[in-house]
Symmetry: C2
Subunit: 226 residues, 2 copies
DNA sequence: ACCTGAACACCGTTCAAGT
DNA sequence: ACCTGAACACCGTTCAAGT
């Protein structure tokens, strides 16, 4: 009646790229970027490191696939019944929230060129920019700027999350940052000190959206001025 | 008269954090991010790996210091006799050009929170935003958006440079990307395909500046509308 | 105080050998 | 065709021992 001692050796399904990517996402979510190891992954899948290489060419591809898997789920659904602005906001927030839930995605997106999932976002944003009647010559610039901004925030958020020790909460972190800013040299950092207070009562998500709106207003400004 | 055979063992100056950082920058510039190794660095400095740890706490600090050293040189000089817009453009271009010359800086900035040199940029941009008469409550958002955009482009440029094999030139790279885009599914990627052509005759630097102008126009729009 | 370099505890990746 | 796991060629970092 007794199964063998030690860990339950369930090894039902065969290995597959999909299972490997799922396991990688799980590992990244639970133990972070530094915890994704071929050995750890192999143990998680109850196999040896070498087996993984049969389905995946290497760590770079694995990380890209894991990122794609997460981002892909946010770029679904139609946005036909919203204003272009709202549709763009929704797309941007989708990426933002995905990164908020999986900080390693932010780091990955920030250091990758436009791969499948972000290209998909690019396309969706592009259509909405067309809907805003932005002149053809300015469309690429407009979409690129939005994408760069989104990816910039992505990288920054990921960096902040990494700096943040797992236990500490955000409020303490922001308080500490605000305190540091407030102590900077008054001559060299006059402006930074004046906004240090705003840092404390700062809502990342709202701030992100405000930035999107700023760029959107710049984009529609172009149109209006012609 | 003959010195010893083998490499000239010049080992004049003693080790110092500064010399280590300089050597790290040199190594990063010549052999790239993956080439910065404590062993390679030690050899470069004609010493053992352990010696470096006497002056530097670890690789993270070393990379941050190397980045600071490069960015610091771009944030010098005054911008009192320019319009706020021009001063912001100059600051942004300074960061852009530094990253263009040292791609690893872009990767590093994109994955770091605001450390000394970028905080300095933040301050300088902030002062110009104040000069633009942006309402106090909107200043933080405006500067943050500009910084996120700059860092987003930084990360993207670094990623592109990394993807680009050292030998190949940019034109071929852009051509290849444009060709890929043009072949995407017409239904799924209608917009992307229409701008694929612009990708080919695309000037990174001009595009970057156009994005800055877009955000600037959004920022001044806020002011004008009140 | 500062340097040396062997040693430790890891990595990603490969590959002969198995099934 | 797919899996195994030892082995290779690295890493960053530490630390006893030297000067």
């Amino acid at each position: 009646m007794a199964t063998r001692t030690g860990r339950p050796e369930r090894r039902q399904e065969p290995l597959s790229a999909q299972r490997i990517v799922s396991a990688a996402v799980e590992l990244l979510d639970t133990v972070g970027e530094s915890g994704l190891t071929f050995r750890a992954l192999a143990e998680h899948l109850a196999t040896g490191p070498g087996a993984i290489y049969w389905h995946v060419t290497g760590k770079t591809e694995l990380l890209a696939a894991a990122t794609d898997a997460v981002v892909a789920t946010t770029v679904t659904g139609d946005d036909t019944d919203a204003t272009p602005q709202d549709a763009i906001r929704a797309l941007a927030l989708g990426v933002f929230d995905a990164i908020d839930a999986h900080p390693w995605v932010g780091a990955q997106l920030a250091r990758t060129s436009w791969q499948p999932p972000m290209l998909r976002v690019f396309e969706r944003v592009g259509r909405q920019v067309q809907a805003l009647q932005v002149p053809r010559a300015a469309q690429f610039t407009a979409v690129s700027a939005l994408m760069s901004y989104i990816l910039g925030v992505a990288g920054q958020n990921a960096a902040n999350t990494r700096t943040l020790q797992p236990g500490a909460d955000r409020t303490a972190f922001l308080d500490a940052a605000a305190a540091t800013w407030a102590e900077l040299d008054p001559d060299d950092y006059a402006f930074t000190r004046t906004v240090a207070g705003q840092l404390r009562e700062h809502d990342d998500r709202a701030e992100f959206l405000a930035g999107v709106d700023l760029i959107l207003s710049g984009i529609t400004g172009i149109t209006a001025r012609r």
